[in-house]
């Protein structure tokens, strides 16, 4: 086959591929598309909500993940309509962003199942995670003995930010804490180490012992009633106030009873 014939064939294939890519896009262009990216903690909730929303509205969604800071950065540069964030606004965030609160999520303290520690007070939590208390024998009710292994998240994660603000009460985190890159890795580390204590999002507590905080067990009911203190916010971030289809969507997520019902399966709806 000569090169020119080859290139003509390749050209034809490319044209076909392009046509295939364009056709569905043209079909969908009658609909408005809302694009979202960001927090991996918010993503499962956003997907559930969107699935229900598209049944009745002429809107389609594109949902990407990447972490809270990715979402915030994407929306600030106009790459997506909405950036999902599981952390509060920060002073270093780009100017002009609007953080729309959509739900709340509980952060639980977890230990190895062999260590059936029932409860920790706020003072105990900050003493443990700041490294003042380093041995389980100093914690009444602990089923483990020996040194405490601290398992946490990397500084760039939303859960780290939430834990620092809610649980540490101004104390500095110990430098010996292992910093894991995801909720799942913290869960795994706690499951396999009898002396470990860590913190994870409520959805990642399976296979661990959930420790009550200030006497309140970490579960959905207590988080909803407001009794459980370790609760953080989920946001949908827009550049300037939301407009058009995005505005309708966010208002639906915040206000409609259907959305509230979906949120309350695993998260805490706004009151």
């Amino acid at each position: 086959m000569t090169l020119s014939r080859l290139s003509r064939r390749l050209g034809a294939v490319a044209a076909l591929a392009a046509a295939a890519a364009v056709v569905p896009a043209a079909g969908a262009s009658a609909k408005t598309t809302i694009t979202m990216s960001g927090s991996t903690s918010v993503a499962p909730l956003a997907a559930k909500l969107a699935k229900s929303y598209v049944k009745t509205r002429n809107v389609s969604f594109k949902l990407l993940q990447g972490g809270s800071d990715v979402g915030i950065n994407d929306v600030a540069h106009g790459r997506v309509t909405i950036g999902n964030s599981s952390r509060d606004p920060k002073s270093s965030d780009p100017a002009g962003l609007v953080f729309n609160k959509i739900a709340k999520d509980a952060v639980c303290l977890v230990t190895n199942p062999a260590n059936r520690l029932p409860n920790l007070s706020a003072a105990q939590v900050s003493a443990i995670f700041s490294g003042q208390v380093r041995d389980w024998s100093q914690i009444p009710g602990a089923g483990a003995s020996g040194t405490i292994d601290l398992i946490g998240r990397t500084a760039a994660s939303g859960t780290y930010d939430a834990f620092n603000k809610i649980f540490m009460g101004g104390a500095r985190l110990s430098t010996t804490m292992a910093q894991k890159a995801s909720n799942g890795l913290v869960q795994q580390a706690v499951k396999s180490d009898q002396n470990a204590i860590g913190y994870v999002s409520l959805a990642f507590t399976a296979g661990t012992n959930e420790v009550a905080y200030n006497g309140v067990p970490c579960n959905l009911r207590n988080a909803k009633s407001g009794q459980y203190g370790g609760v953080r916010n989920f946001f949908m971030v827009t550049r300037g106030p939301a407009t058009g289809a995005a505005k309708k969507w966010i208002r639906w997520v915040q206000k409609s009873p259907i959305a509230k019902q979906i949120i309350s399966t695993d998260w805490v709806p706004l009151s």
Binding site: T2, L3, S4, G66, G67, S68, D69, V70, I72, N73, K90, S91, S92, D93, A95, R134, D135, S145, G146, T147, I148, D149, L150, I151, T154, A155, A156, S157, T175, T176, M177, A178, Q179, K180, A181, L185, Q188, A189, S192, D193, Q194, N195, A196
Partner: protein
């Protein structure tokens, strides 16, 4: 392009010239790509290096607190925080890589000698494909095995409570360690080294080994004094390739070598093997979530730049090490 008259078409036909140019352009694109990548990474990383100077490579303070402070920089570019002393991560990278390459090289050399010289035919036929299969296993699979099996084993069985207490104020020993990272990395890089060394040993001219055997030298000594010696350039090449893979390994090490920027202390004796560390590439993976914070992203790019430079230095070093060896051995790649 030269052609053999009568077999290939005359040079200078239109399609021929076009093919030549297309291929030339493609080859040049690779060069351009490398140049662009180095420029881009260094451009991004520059503020981190410029702010810290040579102290960037040194120690001092806690590197995780420094990273955290960089991540929490104020919004104004003038107030960005850049202070970083990356020594624990550089040292961790060297420690884990060194451990793996030294163990791996010894293992690979012995296995290759066995495969080429001593293994019975059926065993060899089974071993060689198995080695090639091992070389192709994705690193994340090794990481999973490490975190689900080795880390709990080391944390629960090998590390004693006494050992934990002796270093409790500096670092916690929970199983993720230099040892697990090094061992899994050894398993990952050994197969490539075996494959390269096997090929080299096999290409030693039969006459050399037979000549030595005819002089009454036994098989083992023939292997050491003739074959291995002649294959030294290939052994260096294998070590360089393996080191490059070890340096760049990120996912697996992020999972099993520990998630804290700690420099294991040789004064702790054997405990050093159980201390956690976080090599450079693993630090990049662990912190990718914060790339959008400008000074933090630039710091991450600085890690990438150091990795780029070290792999470049590695290629040059390998090339230089091979030069004097080539005189005695076979020309290796």
């Amino acid at each position: 392009m030269r052609s053999v008259r009568g077999i290939l078409p005359e040079p200078g036909t239109w399609s021929d010239r076009r093919a030549e140019r297309t291929l030339g352009a493609l080859a040049c694109t690779v060069l351009l790509l490398i140049a662009a990548m180095v420029l881009f990474v260094f451009g991004k990383a520059w503020p981190s290096f410029a702010h810290n100077g040579l102290a960037w490579l040194g120690g001092g303070g806690n590197v995780d607190q420094q990273l955290s402070a960089i991540f929490d920089s104020p919004a104004k570019p003038a107030d960005y925080v850049y202070t970083l002393h990356a020594w624990p991560m550089l040292y961790g990278t060297a420690l884990v890589t060194g451990f793996a390459v030294v163990c791996g090289l010894a293992l690979a050399l012995l296995s290759a000698i066995f495969i080429v010289e001593f293994a019975p035919e059926p065993v060899r036929r089974l071993l060689e494909p198995a080695v090639r299969l091992l070389a192709a296993v994705p690193s994340v699979v090794y990481g999973l095995i490490g975190i689900l099996v080795l880390v709990p084993f080391v944390g629960g069985t090998l590390i004693s409570e006494q050992m934990k207490e002796s270093v409790a104020y500096v670092v916690q020993l929970d199983g993720t360690s230099v040892l697990v990272g090094g061992v899994v990395l050894t398993v990952m890089i050994t197969p490539i080294m075996i494959a390269i060394v096997v090929d080299a040993l096999r290409s030693i001219p039969r006459a050399w080994t037979e000549g030595a055997a005819a002089l009454g030298v036994n098989r083992w000594r023939v292997m050491w004094t003739v074959s291995v010696r002649a294959a030294r350039p290939a052994i260096v090449a294998a070590a360089v390739l393996a080191t490059a893979r070890a340096l760049g390994e990120a996912i697996m090490l992020a999972m099993v070598s520990g998630s804290v920027g700690f420099a294991p202390n040789p004064l702790d004796g054997l405990t050093i093997l159980f201390e956690p560390t976080r090599p450079l590439a693993a630090t990049i993976v662990d912190n990718a979530e914060g790339l959008s914070v400008v000074p933090f992203g630039q710091t991450i790019y600085a890690f990438a730049a150091v990795l780029l430079v070290s792999s470049l230095a590695l290629s040059l070093g390998g090339w230089a090490a091979k030069q004097p060896l080539k005189r005695y051995g076979l020309a290796a790649r």
